[in-house]
């Protein structure tokens, strides 16, 4: 099982011009490591709809890889997006499911099917041509360059230790720049960066 740092640091190290979309318990940790107009924190947004939002960006910008760091509870809310992602043929879409088995933000209530739902198997069944599953930090770190550069759509299931992230706000008090403005303002910042 990986720590949050073991999950995120290889992505920071190998990222070039990829779009990164985060949600729930990885939103703040990612914002501590990265400060880019190409980061989008799906916070103060629609619960469970991060993967589909990221897929939309990927379809609009086929020249750029879009990485979505989704949660396991969030993924269960919109499993249909697995089928949609494959049917759209978005080869530049990389969908992570970061599995900690719980709703961490609200105090670690277990998600339905915690420990039994096989997210990698769901992705394979939906037709993802590239599916990875990691519970070992070294194997994961070695695979990240390939994950970020080989055409997909790609699904990455990572088992992580439970953290202690609390509810996320969009205020000046947040450390991460992408959480310090409204969703509407940050959306325009990112849109400018993507269309410049």
């Amino acid at each position: 099982m990986l720590t949050r740092a073991e999950l995120l640091e290889p992505l920071v190290r190998h990222r070039t011009d990829q779009v990164m979309v985060t949600t729930m318990s990885v939103t703040r940790p990612w914002g501590r490591l990265s400060d880019s107009d190409l980061d989008f924190g799906s916070a103060d947004s629609a619960m469970g709809h991060t993967a589909d939002l990221a897929l939309g960006i990927a379809l609009a910008r086929p020249e750029r890889t879009v990485v979505c760091l989704n949660g396991d509870g969030s993924m269960l809310m919109t499993l249909g997006t697995l089928a949609t992602a494959v049917s759209t043929g978005a080869t530049n879409f990389v969908l992570f499911v970061v599995e900690n088995g719980s709703y961490e933000i609200t105090g670690h209530q277990p998600i339905p099917g915690a420990g039994r739902v096989d997210f990698a198997a769901l992705a394979r069944a939906a037709g993802f041509p590239r599916v990875f599953r990691f519970d070992d930090a070294r194997a994961y770190a070695a695979a990240v360059p390939d994950i970020l550069t080989t055409p997909g759509p790609t699904f990455v299931h990572v088992l992580v230790e439970r953290g202690s992230e609390g509810p996320i706000s969009r205020t000046e008090a947040e450390e991460a720049r992408y959480l310090r403005s409204s969703l509407a303002d940050w959306s325009r910042t990112m849109r400018r960066a993507l269309t410049a």
Partner: protein
Amino acid sequence: MTAPASSVLDAVVSTLADAGVTHVLGVPDNTSGLLFHALAAAARPRVIIVTREGEAFAMASGLWLGGAAPLVLIQNTGLLESGDALRGTAARMGVPLPIVVTGRGYPKMERHGIDRSTPRTRDLLVRADVDSVALLTEPTLDAWAVPWSMCRPGDDVCEAIRHAVSAAYEQERPVALVLTAPLA
């Protein structure tokens, strides 16, 4: 599948393309099904059928982030399903997003003389001869602060679509067109 020939469908597809719409996302119903076929056969806009209507709002918001100009095409039943997706993505992000909502149940409502002023009582909502989705469409759009207009049988569908697209961009928010006019 080949789209049936229809001057209305062709005109709607041309209107969407001319208005700059790049992607149409949604779930077909009996009214929009032929339009989905016509869109699939056209060079643009690209049509994307999703698994549930809420997904269309999040994907459309992502498309707009990437510089595209999406439009959502769903039935009013799917609109009701989409509440938090619409609120938390397109509305919260201020996405200029035209939404075409095909209106199931309006003929029954009109046949019984029910309109916006009729109280939505428990007895009305359970009546077998009235479709409750039509009763709740307009109050729901009002409650969600989504500006909307109607396109009824006899109205100019293409003009109504052009107006909804313009309004969404002028106001930088989701704007709905409730369509009870036939498309073919």
